[in-house]
């Protein structure tokens, strides 16, 4: 039927339809091109050192010494990898209980004004730019830690505290959505059995929504792992594997931020930084994969 109209006369709205369709396909194609070239460029730069044999993959991943300017330069990235994982895990540990409490407050304790109060709070927290978090961390959290704990205040603890506030909104909003979408009759049957609210929350609501809440936690961790400037400002940027929470340390993002501008393209140290970017990118894939797995579990 379509061929018939085509041979007869191509009308104006057919052309419009075609143009619209082509335009939209081009937009989607562009998205695909962006992601493919992104992965390709970062990966090709990231593996350059390993292919040319200047740095061994095992030395890079497990080497604890980062001394690119020494006489015998070594490019161990373990200080940064461990720093990144440490701040991310700590931030998630601090933020998750708070976020789950906030979500419970919004949906179970006072569903009416609790949501009205916390929803804008969460939106505003997620809207504050990361450099502002870094600035406040530097001028409030770091002096506070310096006065209460041994050390200079900068370090993993400061980084984790700043990050935990930054990922609060992510975890809270996902957890609140999960709690709100829980079927009402599950709760009602628990109350009908004479359970208190806390018994219902701890034995019925949380176990049922755990995969969905974990999705929020993983999304928050993904954000924390990739956050650059706020962490860089408070962590101290010393290239050592952190031994204490209150000693200067580094993350993958912080060293990239600091050193990428000062190194020449194509040098070994520059390529080592690209390898770290590749690690960041691979971790992003891992986080997306985890989220997908959790979502699949949530459907059943």
């Amino acid at each position: 039927m379509r061929g018939k109209t085509n041979t007869k006369k191509i009308e104006k709205h057919h052309i419009e339809d075609m143009v619209g369709r082509i335009y939209m396909s081009l937009c989607v194609l562009l998205l695909i091109v962006i992601i493919v070239s992104m992965v390709y460029f970062v990966a090709s730069k990231g593996i350059a050192n390993f292919i040319s044999g200047e740095v061994k993959l095992t030395d890079f991943l497990f080497g604890t010494k980062w001394a690119p300017e020494a006489d015998t330069p070594s490019y161990g990235a373990l200080p940064f990898i461990s720093g990144s994982f440490l701040v991310t895990l700590l931030a998630a540990l601090i933020a998750s209980p708070l976020s789950i409490c906030a979500a419970l407050f919004m949906t179970e304790i006072v569903p009416g004004w609790g949501k009205k109060l916390l929803q804008p709070v969460i939106e505003l927290l997620s809207g504050i730019p990361s450099v502002v978090y870094g600035f406040v961390g530097l001028s409030v959290i770091v002096p506070f830690l310096r006065d209460t704990f041994p050390g200079q205040g900068i370090g993993v603890a400061a980084g984790a505290l700043v990050l935990s506030v930054m990922i609060l909104p992510t975890i809270t909003s996902v957890a609140a959505d999960a709690l709100a979408s829980l079927p009402q009759n599950l709760k009602e049957s628990s109350f009908a059995l004479g359970a208190t609210r806390w018994q219902t929350i701890s034995r019925v609501i949380l176990p049922t929504t755990m995969p969905a809440i974990m999705t929020g936690v993983v999304l928050g961790m993904a954000r924390a792992f990739g956050e650059a400037l706020a962490v860089q400002m408070v962590i101290g940027n010393a290239p050592f594997v952190p031994r204490s929470l209150f000693e200067s340390a580094s993350t993958l993002t912080s060293v990239i931020t600091l050193s990428m501008g000062n190194t020449t393209m194509g040098s070994t140290i520059n390529n080592a930084l690209w390898s770290m970017a590749l690690v960041l990118m691979l971790m992003t894939f891992v986080f997306v994969l985890l989220v997908r797995m959790l979502e699949r579990r949530n459907k059943i």
Partner: protein
């Protein structure tokens, strides 16, 4: 412990932690505004920064941030609308659609510093655009596009099916239905989402350090010809934005009043983001009333 006591303790703890979050936000905003507002004056907002002396402002940076936002939205909105409408109305469920969905998800979860590095490699070096506003805008597009696609798709999905079916019953083409029936209904949601994403773009720094650069050449604010090198509108000049400026003076600032400048600039940034939030809330409602006969917003 008696279940009732446990319940009381748990409830108190939950309420305490929830209110703690509210307190954190109030403390944060209060701290930023109290420390920063003292330093904000007309002079601070319009004058150029000083390298070593005190008394510098953030005029060029503020302008750069706003201009970069406009450039970014000019590129992002058409592309995001196109891809979003495709995902909502044209894509059939299947492997390809799932793949595109995965791509949007991955792209939106890439750390912004990776986006910045990719911009450095491809746009700044490979396409030889240098550290420029245009490079920054393109990098921010990579960063903002997945969000825009998602906003558009969700907005189109909330349009009641009956409206689309009514259009088909009238014999309209699909394109006509999309542009004349669905788009006006979806527009308020899209605008709200776009303004919120604009707030995110406005505060972004990591993606811009290596694309828009960390320096701001002398600008001549009386020359508005986009082709002149000292014109503020020239998209090929390097441009340090407000967020990048805050980072830079915190980590390598030499001026004696660097902390105050950082506080003032942070306050400006936060006020702008607050404005974006308010605008998003009210502008969407306003547009909805203008475009449709209905007074209700869903």
């Amino acid at each position: 412990m008696k279940p009732k006591t446990a319940d009381k303790i748990a409830t108190t703890l939950i309420v305490f932690f929830a209110l703690l979050i509210v307190a954190i936000l109030i403390g944060l905003l209060g701290y930023i505004l109290v420390r920063g507002l003292n330093h904000i004056s007309w002079d601070f907002l319009t004058s150029a920064p000083q390298k070593i002396r005190a008394g510098g402002g953030v005029g060029p940076q503020l302008f750069n941030s706003l201009y970069l936002l406009v450039l970014t939205l000019l590129i992002t909105i058409p592309l995001g609308l196109g891809a979003g409408i495709f995902m909502a109305e044209y894509a059939r469920p299947g492997k390809l659609t799932n793949f595109i969905r995965l791509i949007v998800e991955v792209l939106s979860s890439f750390p912004s510093i990776i986006v910045g590095l990719f911009g450095l490699l491809l746009i700044v070096n490979y396409f030889d655009l240098g550290f420029s506003l245009l490079s920054g805008a393109i990098a921010l597009t990579f960063f903002n596009l997945p969000l825009m696609v998602r906003i558009t798709e969700q907005a189109f999905r909330t349009v009641p099916k009956a409206q689309k079916e009514a259009g088909f019953a009238l014999g309209l083409s699909k394109w006509k239905i999309v542009t004349s029936v669905l788009l006006p209904v979806a527009l308020p949601t899209i605008i709200t989402g776009t303004i919120l994403s604009a707030g995110r773009v406005f505060g972004e720094a990591a993606a811009l350090m290596f694309t828009a650069g960390m320096s701001s050449p002398r600008l001549n604010f009386s020359d508005w010809n986009p082709l002149h090198t000292s014109s503020p509108l020239n998209p090929f000049r390097p441009a340090e934005t407000l967020a990048v400026h805050i980072w830079k003076i915190n980590s390598e600032g030499l001026a004696p009043d660097a902390i105050q400048i950082a506080a003032g600039a942070s306050a400006v940034l936060v006020i702008m983001v607050l404005l974006f939030n308010l605008l998003a809330r009210y502008f969407g409602r306003f547009i909805y009333r203008k475009l449709t006969a209905s007074k209700r917003i869903n």
